[in-house]
C-alpha cells in the first residue's frame, strides 16, 4: 500500500483541503511513512475478536422527550458568525 498523488487528491476531496503544490511531495512522503508503519497491525492475529469496540459497555442513556428552549446560544452564534442575515447563515449559492 503506497500513498501517491492520486490517493492524496482523493483524500483532499474527502477532507475539503488543498495541499499546496510546494508541499505535496513532502506530504505524500510523510503520509506514506505513517501508513506503512501502521500496517504493522496486520501481523497481529485478531481472529475471533469483536469488530465493535466500546469503552463503555452500558447502553446509551435515553433522554426524556421534553423541550428546553432558549435562543440565547443561537443568538450568540449568529451575532459572531462570519456572515449572517435575518437569523440565517449565509453561504455562496449552492448549486444542486
Amino acid at each position: 500500500m503506497r500513498v501517491d498523488d492520486e490517493l492524496l487528491s482523493r483524500l483532499e476531496k474527502l477532507s475539503m483541503l488543498k495541499i499546496d503544490e510546494s508541499e505535496r511531495t513532502e506530504c505524500i512522503e510523510q503520509l506514506d511513512k505513517i501508513v506503512s508503519f501502521v500496517q504493522n497491525l496486520s501481523s497481529l492475529d485478531t481472529d475471533g475478536v469483536d469488530e465493535v469496540f466500546a469503552m463503555n459497555q452500558s447502553a446509551t442513556a435515553l433522554r426524556l422527550d421534553e423541550p428546553r428552549s432558549s435562543s440565547d446560544i443561537a443568538d450568540d452564534i449568529l451575532k459572531n458568525a462570519p456572515l449572517s442575515e435575518d437569523s440565517f447563515f449565509i453561504v455562496p449559492k449552492i448549486i444542486e
Binding site: 476531496k13 474527502l14 475539503m16 465493535v52 469496540f53 466500546a54 463503555n56 459497555q57 452500558s58 447502553a59 446509551t60 442513556a61 435515553l62 433522554r63 426524556l64 422527550d65 421534553e66 423541550p67 428546553r68 428552549s69 435562543s71 446560544i73 443561537a74 452564534i77 449568529l78 442575515e85 435575518d86 437569523s87 440565517f88 447563515f89 449565509i90 453561504v91 455562496p92 449559492k93 449552492i94 448549486i95 444542486e96
Partner: protein, 471 residues
Amino acid sequence: MFETVIGLEVHTQLNTQTKLFCSCATSFDQRANLNTCPVCLALPGALPRFNRSVLHKAVSFGTAVDATINRVSHFDRKSYFYPDSPSAYQITQLYTPIVEHGRLEIEPKDADSKIIRINRAHIEADAGKNIHDDSRSKVDLNRAGTPLLEIVSEPDMRSTEEVTLYLKKLHSIVRYLDISDANMQEGSFRVDVNVSIRPKGDDKLYTRVEIKNINSFKFITKAIEIEVERQIDAWEDGVYDEVIVQETRLFDQAAQVTRSMRGKEDSADYRYFLEPDLLKVVVDDEMYESAIEIPELPDAKRARFIDELGLSPYDASVLTSDLYMANYFESMVEDGAGAKMSCVWLSVELQGRLDSSLEESLVDAPKLALLVKRIEDKTISAKAAKEVLDHLCSSKIGVDEAIDKLGLKQISDSSAIEAIVNDVLSANQDKVEQYRAGKDKLFGFFVGQVMKASKGSANPQSVNEILKREL
C-alpha cells in the same frame, strides 16, 4: 416485454417534541435558527443525547410491519460536507438498524394480494434547510437533528399501482401508530424511488436509478413512467450500458423528464463508522413491552368493520383510510347510530360538505350520530336531514335546535297523517274513483297532495302506507 423493478426508500419524520439528539423543540418557528443549541449547531464540545421517544416509535413501527426488532443496535457516522449538515456527518444506522425484515400486504385491483418486503427501518437525523437566493444560499438549522425513520423496501414492486398501494398502506400505518404526521407536501413523508428494468422472465437485477424527493403520489407515478421509458428506450436502442448508470436523478415536473443530479456521480464515499459519542442502543424489557402494544391497524380495523359491523369491503376501506375518520365513525356507532347510515352520512354527506378537514368541522361525531338517529327514529326525513346538515356545518347549533329552527320535524303520527289524507281524498273524490277504477298513476298525485298539505313534513313511508289503506 419488459418488467419494471421498483424499490422504495421512505423517510418519515417522527412527531416527537424534541430532536433526535438534543432537547431543541421540533416545532418549526418563523425565525430561522431559533430552535438550535450547541449540538445541532455543531459547536466545539457538543455531544448527542438519544431521545427515548424515538426508540419507542421505531419499535412500534417494527411491530406494525411484523419485523424483527433488534434489541441491540448502534449508531454510525456518515460523512459528507453540505451546509445543512452542521457537523458534516449525519448520525444514522448503517451496520445495525433497529428494525429488519418486515412486510406489508397490498391488494392490487385485479390480482392476488401481494407481500412487499421491508428490508429495514432505521433511525437517523434530518438535515437543516438551504434556501436559495440569486447569488447566495441561506442556511436554517431549525430542522437539523429532527428524527427520521428511514424505511427501505426490497425491490419487490412491479408497477406504479403496487407502488401507490404500498405507499398508501405505509402512510396509513404510520398515521395510525401516531408516530409521524406523514405529510408529503410538508416534507414529513419523503419518498425516493429506485427503478430498474429487465426483460420479462429474467431474474437478474440490472442498473438501478434513484429518483429523489418527489412530493406527491401523482408525481411518483409519473416519474416512474418517464424513467422506465427512458431506460427501455436505451435498451432498445442498444445503448443501455452507456446511458443508464447507477445515479440519482431528480424529477422535473415541468419538463416531464428525470434529470441527472450534478456532481453526485463522484460516488460519495461516506466512510461509515461506529458513532463514538453514543453507546449501544438497547431496547430494554420495559420499553419493549410498552412499544409493541400498538393500536389496531388499518387492515384489522377494516376486517372488523366488515365482520362485526356489516359494512361492505368498499365502505370499510373508505372509512379506515384515515384514522380520524375511522374513530369518528366508531364513536357514532357507539352512540347508537346505525353502522350503514353512519357510514353514508359521514363518508358521503358530511365529507362532501367539508371545506377543510374533518378534524376542523363544526360537526363532531356526537352531532352527526344524533342526526342519524333522528332519521332512524323518524323525527325527520332523510331529505330534511340534508338541509339540517347544511346548517350544522355552518353554525354552532345543536341537532334538535336546528330541526326546530328549520321547522323540519316530520309528521309521523299516523292519526295526524290520516287526517291529512282524509282531507286530501275528500277534496279529490273524482280522482279517488278514477284511481279505484284502475288509474294507478294517480297514486303519485295523492302523495304529492298530502306532502303539499303537510308542507313536506309528513313521513313519506307512513303516507304511502295510509294512502294505500284508504284507497
